[in-house]
């Protein structure tokens, strides 16, 4: 174990091999559709909404199904329980996520050009951190919308948190939440970065002396 770690550390300054550069280049492009596709989807269905209401979360906006009207409809329904209106301007992440993702693209391109294994490791760690932070932010927003209900609302309900993954009954609605197409591009990005690291690490390991003298 200690030996493996040593080898890994020793390989960190190894310049990327061609295969890794190409994979990193691919990764940099793969992330771009993720900026334009929905990252998360919430679906609300009930007896009188058989076609469901859909809410998509993009890196830069909220978008309702039915040409945007589902968002209006969700807000109309939520006003009865005193939930704050879902408004794009209240989500600061829509301002910084696209910027951060763009920086990731530039860094990945830089890695593809002049990077070492360490550069890729930095990108991977940042990606995981960014992903984790975003998920937490998302959960926090769901939680705070569901817990900051107007006490003067016409319909009183107990505070609740809509689901982050999977389904949950909220009032008469079954709410289902899961990652949407854009998120898979981010996951693919992570896999490609990991793969690029693997290629270089394998080469570095081969070229390393078996044991230090």
């Amino acid at each position: 174990m200690r030996e493996k770690l040593r080898r890994f550390r020793a390989s960190l300054d190894f310049p990327l091999v061609t295969r890794s550069r190409l994979t990193a280049l691919l990764a940099a492009f793969v992330i771009i559709p993720g900026l334009f596709l929905p990252l998360w989807k919430l679906e609300f269905t009930s007896q009188q909404y058989p076609e469901g209401l859909e809410l998509y979360i993009y890196s830069n906006k909220l978008y309702g199904g039915d040409d945007g009207n589902d968002l209006t409809e969700i807000n109309v329904l939520n006003h009865y329980i005193g939930m704050a209106e879902l408004r794009e301007e209240d989500f600061t992440e829509f301002k910084w996520i696209p910027l951060v993702v763009s920086i990731m693209v530039v860094l990945t391109l830089r890695a593809a050009a002049i990077g070492t294994l360490k550069t890729l490791l930095d990108i991977l760690v940042s990606t995981v951190y960014l992903g984790g932070f975003s998920l937490w932010r998302f959960w926090y927003m769901l939680h705070s919308y569901g817990h900051n209900l107007d006490p003067r609302a016409a319909v009183k309900v107990d505070p609740f948190t809509p689901p982050l993954f999977g389904s949950k009954m909220v009032g008469q609605f079954s709410v289902t939440s899961y990652p949407a197409s854009g998120m898979y591009f981010f996951i693919l990005f992570g896999i490609l970065v990991l793969l690029a690291m693997y290629f270089t690490y394998k080469t570095a390991e081969r070229m390393m002396p078996a044991k230090p003298a």
Binding site: N69, T72, V76, Y80
Partner: protein
């Protein structure tokens, strides 16, 4: 031997009477509820059953007659889905209460909606518009099938008793109209009925339809002798440039106390009148056309080739053009025949001027030269529809049946009795009939609706105002099969049946829909609502949304002229809201995304609540406000 025989007869009679007794007693009981069906009933039930949540195959638009509306049903279930108000106010949708529809109704409280016609492209229903005539007040209306709303009502000058309407040409270039009850020309002129033959006139009208938005305008009017122009049809294929109408009272008289039913039934033959609408269009554009009451008026004597009469068995009702456009079928109401005319022969007769006389400048074509056959369909033939498989279906009013018969060509010297394939009795006294896509070039040949005038005893009794009956008949097989009895408000005269997928509706007026005209008085948020006073005029811009009305207080002084623009800012289907002011006779219904305006004088002092009439949400009851009149 003899005694034995008598005993047998006695036993037999006893049996018969007991069967009658049992049947007599059981009759009422067995009619109610489902009872035990035969396999024939079971298959009819299956053929019309549309499971909950499933959709019908066809839209059926029946005219509402003097109800002034159009009823919409699904086929084969025959379920009534909605009513489209046209010539009559309809509180259910607020029609005739807001300023726009009030203006469209032009002060009339009713109309006599007779013959709906779907718009066509290349002779096929295109699902864009539905036209319908007002037999009473000389009007034609257009319903947009995008939102099932009446969009235009056109008042036609000089027209009295608009019965020969509405029938559309192959590409909806024109919609027909025609006088049924001739009056002195131009309308508004006084002349005694003793001057009927000379001073009274009928008109045949071509209503031009804008191919883009359907807007109707009077293209031309042809002044014709004072016969009663009855039903019509537009040609197709080879006959596409022509319009046809039947007429009765070619006796050309109205004798005071003489009973028109008698005086108009004296001659052996009346006529079909046919008009070349392309010629009429040219004539209207020419210098010889006169302008009367603001429309182009044509005298047939000035324009040879414009109109012709064809003699037809007396007092005819329907004239119908076959899907291929070659055969013109006239039904002689008082003659037990339908007459088939060959359009090719009609053209030859016109070319060779094979005429027998001329009436007021209109040549009468030699009957013998153009008649293909007289079909002995039965008593009281009124109207004919088609199945696209070479058969015609004629309604028989007096016989109370539908006759199915084969269309030409026939073999030389064929027995016309053999042309009749089958008859099916209907309950009772059928007027018009309607087949699926029956007026198009390619009828579907599966369903036929018999629109009956009487329905006595076929439904739970509702007292003397007995509803009308519509019967669904399966015509897909060799034999016609009665499937279903439906009942309607008074009184369908004709119907149109169109494949459901041809109609593309919207269910919300989307705020940014380029096809929905922007209402300058629409407001879209609570912040934009306002009350503006200008002298004694108070104008309110209001929104309605789940579950509040804004503003919820309007203060005015007695005698103020109040105008309220109400926008339903919902963009969700089926979220309609109403707006009613108690004791002020105000009833507005606004669909999602719609804006309507109501105007009234606040002539009663006091406090009047207003509220949402159209149930919208869990807090619908709370959706109210106050009009304070000081």
């Amino acid at each position: 031997m003899k005694a034995h025989h008598y005993r047998n007869v006695f036993v037999l009679m006893l049996l018969i009477s007991s069967v009658l007794l049992v049947n007599g007693c059981g009759d009422k009981e067995s009619k109610r509820g489902r009872g035990t069906g035969t396999s024939e009933q079971a298959s009819a039930a299956l053929a019309t059953y549309v499971a909950p949540g499933d959709l019908d195959e066809y839209y059926l638009f029946y005219s509402g007659g003097h109800s002034g509306s159009i009823f919409v049903a699904g086929v084969p279930s025959m379920r009534h889905i909605c009513t489209i108000p046209v010539f009559t106010p309809y509180p259910g949708t607020g029609y005739g209460f807001d300023e726009e529809s009030k203006k469209m109704l032009g002060g009339f409280k009713w109309g006599d909606a007779h013959h709906p016609a779907l718009s066509e492209t290349d002779g096929e229903y295109d699902g864009r518009w539905l036209f319908i005539n007002d037999n009473a007040n000389g009007r034609v209306a257009r319903v947009d099938l995008r939102d099932f709303k009446t969009k235009q009502i056109l008042k036609i000058p000089n027209l009295s008793g608009n019965h020969g309407a509405t029938f559309v040409t192959e590409n909806t270039e024109y919609v027909t109209s025609a006088t049924r009850m001739s009056v002195p020309f131009p309308s508004g002129t006084y002349a005694d009925v003793t001057e009927y033959a000379e001073k009274y006139k009928g008109i045949l009208v071509g209503i031009k339809v804008d191919p883009k938005d359907g807007t109707m305008s009077v293209g031309w009017e042809i002044v014709v002798p004072p016969f009663d122009y009855d039903l019509g049809d537009a040609g197709k294929g080879p006959s596409k440039d022509w319009m046809f109408w039947t007429c009765y009272n070619s006796e050309r008289e109205f004798i005071e106390g003489g009973k028109l039913e008698v005086t108009a039934s004296q001659k052996d033959k009346d006529f079909i009148v046919m008009v070349n609408w392309k010629e009429a269009e040219k004539a209207a554009a020419s210098g010889k056309a006169k302008t009367v009451s603001g429309v182009k008026v044509l005298d047939p004597a000035d324009f040879p080739g414009l109109a012709y009469y064809i003699p037809l068995a007396k007092s005819p009702h329907g004239v119908d053009v076959t899907p291929d456009g070659r055969w013109i079928i006239g039904a002689g109401k008082l003659s037990p025949t339908t007459t088939v005319f060959d359009f090719e022969k009609i053209q030859k007769a016109i070319e060779s001027k094979d005429f027998t006389e001329t009436i007021d400048g209109i040549p009468v074509i030699n009957y013998a030269s153009v008649r293909e056959a007289e079909i002995p369909v039965g008593l009281g033939p009124l109207h004919t529809q088609f199945d696209g498989k070479g058969y015609a279906y004629t309604s028989l009013f007096i016989e109370s049946a539908v006759a199915k018969w084969k269309l030409p060509p026939y073999e030389e010297g064929a027995d016309m009795n053999q042309v009749i394939v089958e008859k099916i009795p209907v309950a009772y006294n059928i007027g018009h009939l309607c087949t699926a896509e029956g007026d198009s070039k390619s009828p579907d040949g599966n369903y036929l609706i018999a629109l009956n005038k009487l329905s006595k005893g076929r439904h739970l009794s509702v007292g003397p105002s007995i509803p009308e009956s519509a019967q669904l008949i399966d015509i897909s097989g060799d034999n016609m099969k009665l499937l279903y009895d439906a009942f309607t408000e008074p009184e369908p005269h004709y119907a149109q049946m169109i494949k459901a997928d041809k109609i593309k509706t919207i269910e919300v007026y989307k705020r940014d829909d380029p096809l929905s005209p922007k209402n300058p008085d629409a407001v879209w948020s609570k912040e934009e609502t306002k009350i503006v006073r200008n002298g004694n005029k108070v104008e309110v811009w209001m929104i309605v949304v789940r579950s509040f009305i804004a503003p919820d207080v309007i203060r005015v002084n007695k005698g103020d002229h109040v105008t309220i623009h109400i926008t339903n800012i919902e963009q969700t289907r089926d979220e309609l809201h109403g707006f009613a002011i108690n004791d002020y006779n105000i009833n507005i219904v606004v669909d999602p995304g719609e804006t309507k305006t109501t105007s009234f004088v606040a002539d009663k002092a006091g406090v009047y609540a207003y509220y949402c009439t159209n149930f919208c949400s869990a807090l619908h009851q709370e959706m109210q406000g106050y009009l304070l009149v000081k």
